[in-house]
């Protein structure tokens, strides 16, 4: 059995950030396990820019951002296993993996950092009725084909979902000469970054149909068209508004799901709202010594935040190896009115030096609202926020001093108070 102090599962931005941080902080017996042929994760296919504004004060494309870390991994000669799939992790931190050179093998880990990222919600999961022709694919898969494999999935495209991946692909496909006929969005607002609405849709006059959805797919062998309809307040289609759009491709950008099959099988508790593990302020999951960061923990919009989170996880893993463990969580962290979820979901203030960073998303769009933190009836924080939208993650730093005022029984609650 192999032995590593830290085993990092996933070689995308989260895994890379954690590995480089761990190494720089003095723990060198680490390994990154990556299932693809190269490091970089999803960044490799994200050839658009918008990455690194915070981290590097530069506007980089995905591969450029990844390369900064890959260069360090190579410079430090950090162990990397490519084309290797983790089959199983156990609560006592044994990792079982397989590749074509070593076959099936096991690793004993001092600590594990989960960085597996997320997968996309497919057509079947949202039950769009109709036929099952070729030409239906998720935006990430389309992106892989167009940017990495060198193929266009179609010529006349309808995109369902105005999440960032969908918006980016609307632009990408248009630039490559395809016609994107519409981006159809179920909600009355887009979940993508405002920047992407402007740069990907408005720039190219691609219609954004809010409060609409696809109600049927047509075509025997290849997509021939879709029927779309407006939806009511309950997101149910209003049949009288149904209209047919001819197209040969339907691209789905209808949600990212953290990839936690391995976590679940290891008995790690998951948060049903985030889809990721329940963690404490150290980003430690319910299994001691197993940490989570990046999209596997919660779906991020900015890779810079993923890197910051990954660094935290690395430092926590190092502390775990050196100190043996942390104090058990004694304060629950809950999402109140207007907040969809908060990470971490539980804390113990004695584990930290200075502050805890909480990340969350609102349930709706709020303008000029107050972001508040309460423990029982007591306010720990009240902050004015000009604009809150589900498409953009919120950061709140609470210092140890402020958190000391939290009541153990009541826990702390993050909520939105309308202005």
């Amino acid at each position: 059995m192999l032995n590593y102090d830290i085993v990092i599962i996933g070689g995308g931005p989260a895994g890379l950030g954690a590995a480089v941080e761990a190494y720089e902080k003095g723990v060198k017996n680490i390994v990154i396990i990556e299932r693809d042929k190269y490091l970089g994760g999803i960044l490799e296919q994200c050839i658009h820019n918008g990455f690194g504004l915070q981290e590097f004060k530069e506007e980089l494309t995905g591969p450029e951002y990844a390369q900064r870390f890959i260069d360090k991994v190579e410079e430090y000669d950090i162990n990397v296993m490519l084309e290797t799939m983790v089959l199983e992790i156990t609560p006592d931190r044994i990792v079982k993996a397989v590749n074509s050179k070593e076959g099936v093998f096991t690793i004993k880990a001092g600590a594990i950092i989960l960085a597996m990222g997320c997968r996309e919600r497919p057509r079947g999961a949202i039950m769009i009725p109709g036929t099952r022709p070729a030409g239906i694919l998720t935006a990430g898969t389309a992106q892989r084909y167009v940017n990495m494999e060198g193929y266009l999935p179609g010529k006349e495209i309808v995109i369902l979902g105005s999440g960032d991946v969908g918006l980016i692909m609307a632009r990408r496909l248009t630039l490559e000469g395809a016609k994107v006929k519409a981006v159809v969005e179920l909600m009355p607002y887009s979940s993508g970054l405002t920047r992407n609405i402007v740069q990907c849709l408005e720039d190219f006059n691609i219609p954004l149909l809010l409060s609409h959805t696809v109600i049927e797919i047509h075509g025997k062998d290849r997509v021939e068209g879709v029927t779309i309809a407006k939806v009511d307040e309950n997101r149910e289609p209003i049949m009288e508004t149904a209209q047919y759009i001819s197209c040969d491709t339907l691209i789905l950008s209808v949600g990212l799901i953290p990839e936690n099959e391995l976590s679940q099988k290891a008995g790690i508790e998951l948060d049903p709202i985030t889809g990721g593990p329940i963690v404490n302020e150290m980003l430690e999951t319910s299994v001691p010594g197993i940490f989570a960061c990046g999209n596997v923990l919660q779906v991020h919009d900015l890779v810079d935040n993923v890197t910051a989170e990954a660094r935290m996880a690395a430092n926590s893993a190092i502390r775990f190896i050196r100190e043996g463990g942390f104090k058990k969580s004694n304060i629950s962290v809950k999402a109140g009115k207007g907040i969809r979820y908060v990470v971490p979901q539980r804390i113990n203030v004695d584990n930290i030096d200075k502050r805890i960073k909480f990340r969350m998303r609102p349930t709706d769009v709020y303008n000029n609202a107050i972001l508040a933190v309460k423990s029982g009836d007591r306010y720990l924080l009240r902050q004015k926020r000009i604009r809150l939208t589900p498409g953009e993650m919120i950061d709140v730093n609470l210092s140890k001093e402020i958190l000391k005022n939290a009541d153990e029984k009541e826990g702390i609650v993050f909520l939105v108070e309308e202005g």
């Binding site: 190269y38 490799e44 050839i47 658009h48 820019n49 504004l53 506007e59 980089l60 494309t61 591969p63 450029e64 390369q67 940017n147 990495m148 494999e149 060198g150 630039l175 490559e176 000469g177 970054l193 405002t194 920047r195 609405i197 402007v198 740069q199 720039d203 919009d301 900015l302 604009r387 953009e392």
Partner: protein
């Protein structure tokens, strides 16, 4: 007096900036949160520019495409032409990240550079 309202795209804040113009000249700008935003607003109403990120065909590399970008933003109206121009190109591996693939694309003064390494494909 004309008022142009734009969404700044420099960072995710997406500030809504109002630009008052009279006779083609900027009279006032309100709503930005940083100097980059102010700069963006000024440019967007007079000469909108965009970064172009795309790929070019590659030969002999570990991938069939090399991802590239314009080093700086280029005039928005030239994007389509730039895409057509870049479609004609085929690069040969190896290529280093940052290498100039096309110098001064279509007379814009902006280079198109590689955004990844392209390794030579091993012939087994």
């Amino acid at each position: 007096m004309e008022v142009k309202e734009i969404t700044c795209i420099v960072c995710p804040l997406g500030c809504r900036i109002k630009v008052e113009m009279e006779g083609g000249e900027i009279k006032s700008i309100k709503g930005y949160s940083c100097p980059k935003g102010l700069e963006y607003a000024k440019n967007e109403v007079t000469m909108p520019k965009r970064m172009v990120t795309t790929s070019v065909r590659a030969k002999g590399g570990h991938l069939p495409l090399l991802s590239v970008r314009t080093k700086e933003p280029v005039p928005k109206e030239k994007i389509h032409e730039i895409m057509l121009e870049l479609a004609k190109i085929e690069v040969k591996a190896p290529v280093k990240i940052g290498d100039v693939i096309v110098k001064n694309i279509l007379g814009t003064g902006v280079d198109v550079i590689a955004t990844r390494n392209l390794y030579k494909k091993e012939v087994s």
